[in-house]
Amino acid sequence: MANQMGNAYALTLLCPIRHGVPQQCPEGLGGQTSAACVRYLLQDVMRVSLDSPMAKVPNTYLSRFYILEDVPYQGKPAKLEHLGSNYLVFCADFHGDLDTWLTGMWNAIQPEICGLLQYCFGFESVHDCASFITWIKKCQVETTFFFDGSTDEPLAVQLKNLYLKQEFSKFVYANQGNGPETIQANFREFVALTQPDNIDAPTWKPGAYGLDKVVSGLKTQGAG
C-alpha cells in the first residue's frame, strides 16, 4: 500500500513556494525571493545536527528537505518543460500514522516549521494544528519509497536496540577468552549498566551521530 509499510509511514510533500519577494524575510535577506529565504532557513535553522528541529519531532526515522527549482532538460528529443514555481520537497519516514506524527511535529517545532512554510502558497490558512494537518495533506504525493535503514519499531525502541548492539559488541571484544564465571559476572554488570528493559535510558539521542555524544554530552564527534 502506498505510504505505509507495517508501522512505518513514508511522507512525501511537494509544497509550492510563492513567487517573488516576500514582505517578511530573515535578517539580511531583504529583497531576496521566497525560495532564497526557504533555502537560507534550510541551511541555517533546519541544518542537520544534533540540534536540528527535526530531531525533536517524535518517532522520526529520517527526514530530508530540498528545493526543486525546475525539471532538468535532457536534450532532444525530450520536450523542454518548466515548473510553474519552485517547490519545497519534504520527505520523512516515521513510526505510526500521519495525523499523530504531524501533531507531534506541530507541538515540538511549531515556530521553526511555520517559519519555513510561511513562504509556501496557501500557508496563510494555517492557524492551528488541525489546519496545519489539512494544509500538509494538500501537498502530499503518494510514495512507495521507504528508508531502508530502519525497521518499523517506535524510534525509542530502535535507538535502544542500536545502543545495546553497540555496547554488546564492546562487551564481546572485552570479554574474549574470559572463563564462564567471569563472563557471567561481567554480563550481570553489563545488564545493570545498559538496562535493556529501560527503553528511555541509557540510549542514543535522536539526531546523534555517535554514542560518545550520548555518554559525554559532547557535540564534537567522538574518537570511537
Binding site: 564481546v172 571484544y173 572485552a174 574474549q176 577468552g177 574518537a223
Partner: protein, 529 residues
C-alpha cells in the same frame, strides 16, 4: 577489445613485476627540475636507457637488460617540463593534487601524515608543496650493474645540469640523508612480517606474461575458479591508456592521444612496517587464539608460507602443499640447469600445484569459516567475496571488483632481525599501477583497507594495512572478527586492540609515459591543439 599491445612502446614496469624475473634489487631516485630546457635534455638522455615491456625469454637473451630502467613524472614535474596547460588540464584532480593533498581519502593521517615522511618529500619552505618531480627506478639482479647504471645516470645529470637529485631518504641509522631509496627482496621472498610475497597480481589482455598468472589475477568468467577456464584477462584499459577498459570505454586521459596512449599512473608509497609491534601482537593474540601461525594466516588470508587459506584450511595441509611445491620447483630448477631430470608426470603435477596458489574464490566459504571476511587478501582482491554466496547475482561475473583491480609492483626495503625495533628502517616500497587513481587505488585504500562496509564489517579496517590508530592508553583501536566454523565447532574470535602495523613514510602519484611520449616531452612537441 584489443588482443595485442604495442609492448615496445610501453614501459617495462607496467607489464613486469621485476622481482618475479630474478631482479630483486632496486634503487628509486627522485629529482627536481629547475630548468625546463635542461630538464627535457635530461629526459632525452635517459630515454634510450628505459626498459620496455618487450617479453623477456631465454631464446631472446638480448631482450633482457642487466638493469631495468624506468622513469615517471608527478604533475608538477610535467609542469616544470613545459607540458602545455591544455594537456595538464586533461589530468584528473587526484593526479594534479598529488598524494599529500589526498590524505583524508587514502587514510594518510595520524602516524601516516606527511609530517612523518622522509625529508625528501617535505620541502622545508612549504611542506604542502609537491617538490618531487621525477622518479627513476632501477632494478637489477646484481649490485654491480645496479651501481653502474646509477652512476651512468648521475653522469647524465651532471652533464645536463638544471635538474637536482633530491637527497633525504631515511637510512638504517635513522638519518635522512640518503640520495636514493634502496629496496631488496629477501632470498625467501618474504616481506618483513614473514609472509611470502608477490604471489598474485592482476593480469590483463595483451600483457604477454605467463598465461598461468591469469588464474586469480584475471577476472572471473563464472566457470570453475579452480581451473584456467574460470578466469579471463582484464581489459588492458584498466592499466594502460588508449585502450578499452572493462566498461568498454577509453580511460580518461589528457590529450593529445599520442601523449597519453600506452602510458599509465604509478602510485609510489614507502610503507614502514612496525615489525616489533607486529611480532609482539602476533605472539600475544595468536597464543590467545590458539595457534600463532594459524592466527597469522587469518590476518592475511594466506599462510605465511604462501598457501591460500581458502583452499588449505589447516596448517598441516598448507605445510604439506608448500613442501611438495617447493621440492618440485627445486627439481625443475635443477633440471633446467642440466642437473638431474624431471618427468612429464612431475611437470604436470607441478603445474597443478602452481595453479592451486591462485585458483580459488570464496563461493564455498560464505561464512568466513576458512578465510575471514576481514583478511587482508580477501579485502584487497575480493574475487567472489562480494557476492556473499549468491549464484550469478550479476550479468557480469566480478561486476563489483573488476574495476577495482591494481597491478602490484615494488619490493621490501631494510632489515628486520630478531631483535629489531619499530624505529628500525624497514618496510615495503609499494608501487601500484592503474589507469584511474580514484576508481582503483584510492577506492581500494579508502573503502577496502580503511573501511569495512562492503564486506559487512561496519567500520573495521584491514588488520594488517589499516590505519588502526591508538586510544589514549596506547592500545591499538583496530578490531577484527575471525568467524567461527560450525563444522569444527570452533568459536568465533573477536580480536581487538590491533595496533597500526604499517605507516606511510612517503610517496606520490606519477605518470608513466610511453616511449613515444618520452621522446615528445624531450623534443618539446606535445601539442594538444
Amino acid at each position: 577489445m584489443i588482443s595485442k599491445l604495442d609492448l615496445p612502446d610501453i614501459q617495462g614496469n607496467i607489464v613486469k613485476a621485476y622481482g618475479r624475473y630474478g631482479f630483486p634489487r632496486a634503487r628509486y631516485v627522485f629529482y627536481q627540475i629547475n630548468d625546463s630546457t635542461k630538464g627535457r635534455k635530461f629526459v632525452e638522455n635517459v630515454t634510450p636507457l628505459v626498459t620496455t615491456s618487450v617479453p623477456w625469454s631465454e631464446d631472446k637473451p638480448k631482450n633482457v637488460p642487466a638493469v631495468a630502467v624506468n622513469i615517471a613524472f608527478t604533475y608538477q614535474g610535467l609542469k616544470h617540463l613545459d607540458i602545455p596547460d591544455d594537456t595538464l588540464h586533461g589530468f584528473p584532480d587526484e593526479f594534479a593534487m598529488g598524494m599529500k593533498a589526498r590524505r583524508d581519502i587514502i587514510g594518510d593521517n595520524g602516524p601516516n601524515h606527511f609530517e612523518h615522511w622522509d625529508k625528501i618529500w617535505n620541502d622545508p619552505a612549504d611542506k604542502f608543496s609537491q617538490n618531487v618531480h621525477v622518479l627513476i627506478g632501477l632494478n637489477a639482479k646484481e649490485e654491480g650493474p645496479l651501481e653502474a647504471a646509477y652512476q651512468q645516470i648521475c653522469g647524465i645529470l651532471a652533464a645536463t645540469g638544471g635538474v637536482t637529485q633530491l637527497v633525504g631518504h631515511r637510512g638504517a641509522n635513522g638519518v635522512e640523508d640518503l640520495p636514493y631509496q634502496s629496496a631488496i627482496a629477501s632470498d625467501s621472498n618474504r616481506e618483513h612480517f614473514g609472509y611470502a610475497d608477490g604471489i598474485s597480481t592482476s593480469y590483463f589482455e595483451g600483457c604477454r606474461e605467463s598465461a598461468r598468472y591469469v588464474v586469480g589475477g584475471g577476472k572471473p568468467t563464472g566457470l570453475d575458479p579452480t581451473t584456467k577456464e574460470g578466469w579471463a584477462p582484464l581489459a588492458a584499459g584498466e592499466f594502460v591508456f588508449g585502450h578499452a577498459d572493462e566498461s568498454g570505454a577509453y580511460p580518461e586521459a589528457p590529450g593529445p592521444p599520442l601523449f597519453s596512449r600506452n602510458g599509465t599512473y604509478m602510485v609510489y608509497r614507502k610503507l614502514h612496517q612496525n615489525v616489533a609491534t607486529f611480532r609482539t601482537f602476533l605472539e600475544a593474540e595468536g597464543s590467545k587464539f590458539g595457534d600463532v601461525e594459524t592466527f597469522a594466516a587469518k590476518l592475511s588470508g594466506r599462510w605465511r608460507n604462501g598457501a591460500p587459506l581458502a583452499t588449505f584450511w589447516t596448517k598441516e595441509s598448507a605445510n604439506q602443499f608448500v613442501a611438495e611445491l617447493g621440492a618440485l620447483l627445486e627439481k625443475s630448477r635443477l633440471a633446467d640447469a642440466g642437473q638431474g631430470q624431471i618427468s612429464d608426470a612431475e611437470k604436470a603435477h607441478l603445474a597443478e600445484l602452481r595453479l592451486q596458489l591462485t585458483a580459488y574464490d570464496y563461493n564455498d566459504d560464505t561464512t568466513g569459516a576458512k578465510c575471514p571476511f576481514s583478511a587482508h587478501t580477501r579485502r584487497t582482491n575480493p574475487r567472489s567475496a562480494l557476492q556473499f554466496g549468491e549464484k550469478k547475482p550479476f550479468d557480469t561475473p566480478g561486476a563489483l571488483s573488476n574495476r577495482r583491480r591494481i597491478l602490484r609492483r615494488g619490493l621490501p626495503y631494510g632489515e628486520s632481525p630478531a631483535n629489531t625495533t619499530d624505529a628500525d628502517e624497514h618496510g615495503v616500497i609499494m608501487m601500484i599501477v592503474n589507469a584511474d587513481l580514484s576508481r582503483q587505488f584510492e577506492f581500494v585504500q579508502e573503502q577496502w583497507i580503511n573501511y569495512g562496509n562492503d564486506f559487512r564489517l561496519s567500520n573495521d579496517q584491514d588488520p594488517l594495512l589499516g590505519n588502526n590508530g591508538f586510544n589514549e592508553n596506547g592500545r591499538g583501536k583496530g578490531r577484527m572478527l575471525i568467524e567461527g566454523d560450525s563444522q569444527t565447532n570452533r568459536s568465533p574470535y573477536f580480536c581487538s586492540g590491533i595496533p597500526t602495523m604499517v605507516e606511510t613514510r612517503g610517496g606520490d602519484y606519477f605518470f608513466v609515459p610511453s616511449m613515444t611520449c618520452l621522446r615528445m616531452i624531450a623534443m618539446g612537441i606535445v601539442d594538444p591543439t
